[in-house]
């Protein structure tokens, strides 16, 4: 059995049930539906406050038609945020380290924004391929470049999320292995490595939140161009 550093990204299965299934369903438990009392419990209140904050932040730049996307953008944001943060707990599995899942989220949503733009305002959508004020000889090259950058957006969205989280998890595993291996040999270096590990963990918490936000923000930006 090959024990490498990448084994943390394989989802183990017990009795035929893979852990990825439970990891993806667990966030639903953490977001109970608010009951129709005037003052609900503190947990629901904090969540509703947070959801209001993110919804206002994401949807202010969008026009009225874009507000139809409110539910999917907000639920995507909370989903990614919860999954990223839960992955930092010990022994848990993070589904967003799998490229398959991130591409499955990024590609259809990006395609939806593109098709919305092409359907409702085709000339304006195509007009985005050429920035204003470009010198005339550069126009063919620039259209090719802008088309490439448009078509690479879903790949960038998916790979950005995957790469950030995978790199963070790998770094944490490497540095913690170094700490435990160095502890009997050179305790002072081991303590230094522990400090690095603590700082890295704080960074990983920040990265988890930022990456979820960036994913949804970029999608809302692509939507703004096209709606």
């Amino acid at each position: 059995m090959n024990l490498s550093f990448f084994d943390q990204f394989m989802s183990p299965s017990l009795l035929g049930i893979p852990l990825v299934l439970i990891s993806m369903l667990f966030p639903t438990l953490l977001f109970p539906s608010p009951n129709n009392r005037w003052i609900s419990n503190r947990y629901s209140t904090i969540q509703l406050w947070f959801l209001n904050l993110t919804t206002k932040q994401l949807l202010t730049p969008l026009n009225k038609k874009g507000h139809k996307w409110a539910l999917i953008l907000t639920s995507l944001m909370t989903f990614l945020l919860t999954i990223n943060l839960l992955g930092l707990l010990p022994y848990t599995f993070t589904p967003t380290t799998q490229l398959s899942m991130n591409m499955a989220l990024a590609f259809p949503l990006w395609l939806a924004t593109l098709l919305t733009g092409l359907r409702n305002q085709p000339s304006a959508s195509l007009g985005h391929l050429l920035p204003e004020g470009t010198p005339t000889p550069l126009i063919p090259a620039l259209i090719l470049i802008e088309t490439t950058s448009l078509l690479i957006r879903p790949l960038a969205l998916g790979v950005r999320l995957t790469a950030n989280l995978t790199a963070g998890h790998l770094l944490i595993q490497l540095i913690s292995t170094a700490t435990t291996t160095l502890l009997p040999i050179m305790p002072m270096v081991s303590i230094l490595t522990v400090i690095i590990l603590l700082l890295l963990t704080i960074l990983e918490v920040a990265v988890a939140m930022i990456q979820a936000y960036v994913f949804v923000l970029l999608l809302s930006l692509y939507l703004q161009e096209n709606i």
């Binding site: 024990l3 017990l14 438990l29 109970p32 419990n41 947990y43 022994y91």
Partner: protein
Amino acid sequence: GPLLERPLMEVRLGELHTWISTCDFSPQGLLGTVQKAWNSYYAKYINVRRGGPAGISMLLTGYCLLSYSWNYQHLKRYRWRKYH
């Protein structure tokens, strides 16, 4: 009789097999059991007037333990390994 549909905490050990035989093991039945269990946990620990971090922390600790048990076959070989 009154043995059926009693909650699990009120069933005596000797009657356990009889109680299990009256359980509904269809998918809807299992889903109903899971929902009832979650609702009683939620009502007791999270949906309280002055809650704190305890309810959610217990849930997250349970999730960590569940993940550990799912990973156990892999982790024990990692523990037994001489060189990492």
